[in-house]
């Protein structure tokens, strides 16, 4: 089983080497003098084409996004419980199904509350 994670490790190493090598290659080529270096004002501007940006890129996001993030975290935690339960559902039998039904129906109350209070609507 752990061998499969070895492949993920190799993938990550290849990705890291790739990400480091790509900026290094032009840098080394320009140091060796293979690539000509003739900077002008347009080339070294941040946006070579398109419109110049206006104001700061730091904008304050709508506060409503945070509510969705909070609800996402809660249902994400629910999924963590659902996943092992689904793996062992055959061994657990009817008891496991009832157990999970109680778990989900308690959490559904929160979802219905969010629905009734119209917090999921984007005004």
């Amino acid at each position: 089983m752990l061998d499969n994670y070895g492949y993920i490790g190799i993938f990550l190493i290849v990705a890291a080497v790739f990400a480091i090598a790509l900026p290094l290659i032009p840098y080394i080529l320009s140091l060796l003098g293979i690539v000509p270096r003739k900077p002008d004002q347009v080339k070294s501007s941040t946006y070579e084409c398109g419109m110049d940006t206006v104001g700061s890129s730091w904008v304050q996001f709508n506060f409503r996004y945070y509510l969705f993030a909070l609800l996402f975290v809660i249902f994400d935690v629910q999924v963590v419980f659902l996943y092992p339960w689904a793996v062992a559902i055959r061994q657990l039998g009817l008891f496991g199904i009832i157990e999970m039904l109680i778990f989900i129906s308690i959490l559904i109350v929160g979802f219905i509350y969010a629905w009734r209070k119209r917090t999921l609507e984007w005004k």
Binding site: M1, Q60, Y65, A69, L70, W85, G110
Partner: protein
């Protein structure tokens, strides 16, 4: 052997990114380094054979908690530069050192059950499920109460974050 090398690489990356979180002046970059730190911890879980825990780490910490942190930064006004905790360096140092001392003391004095040789690594998800959901294991009530805790968190979030 391969796992040991992977462990040390991941440990070095984890400690390095944790230091970057603390030392970075840009709070958004610090948050991104924190996400990377969570990810290396998931890798460490895999090297010790806890595959389910690694999946949970990625799902909860890398997926959800990091979204909360990044949203919290994006929602606040211009706090990009400078560290907001700069006004109380001395109390922070005292509390940090006390916490470090407590952690080192606990790690050194705990009687760790070191298992040699390593138990055979296999999929742990099914075993965890049987431990958690089986009626004889005694975790059924805590599991159901966990849903009440999550419900309280959901309703609390809605009440606090709803526009008046």
């Amino acid at each position: 052997m391969g796992m040991e090398i992977a462990f040390w690489i991941l440990a070095a990356l984890g400690v390095g990114s944790a230091l970057a979180v603390v030392l970075n002046r840009d709070i958004f970059r610090a948050a991104l380094f924190l996400v990377f730190c969570f990810f290396t911890i998931a890798g460490i879980y895999i090297t010790i054979g806890a595959d389910f825990l690694a999946g949970v780490q990625v799902l909860i910490y890398v997926g959800a908690i990091s979204i909360l942190i990044i949203f919290a930064i994006m929602l606040t006004r211009q706090t990009q530069r400078g560290s907001p905790s700069n006004r109380l360096p001395l109390p922070a140092l005292v509390i940090g050192l006390a916490f470090l001392g407590a952690m080192v003391f606990i790690v050194l004095t705990t009687n760790w059950h070191v298992v040699t040789p390593l138990p055979e690594a296999g999929p742990t998800t099914g075993a965890i499920a049987l431990e958690l959901f089986d009626p004889e294991s005694g975790f059924v009530l805590p599991f159901e109460i966990a849903s009440v805790l999550l419900l309280a968190a959901a309703i609390g979030a809605i009440v606090l974050a709803r526009e008046k």
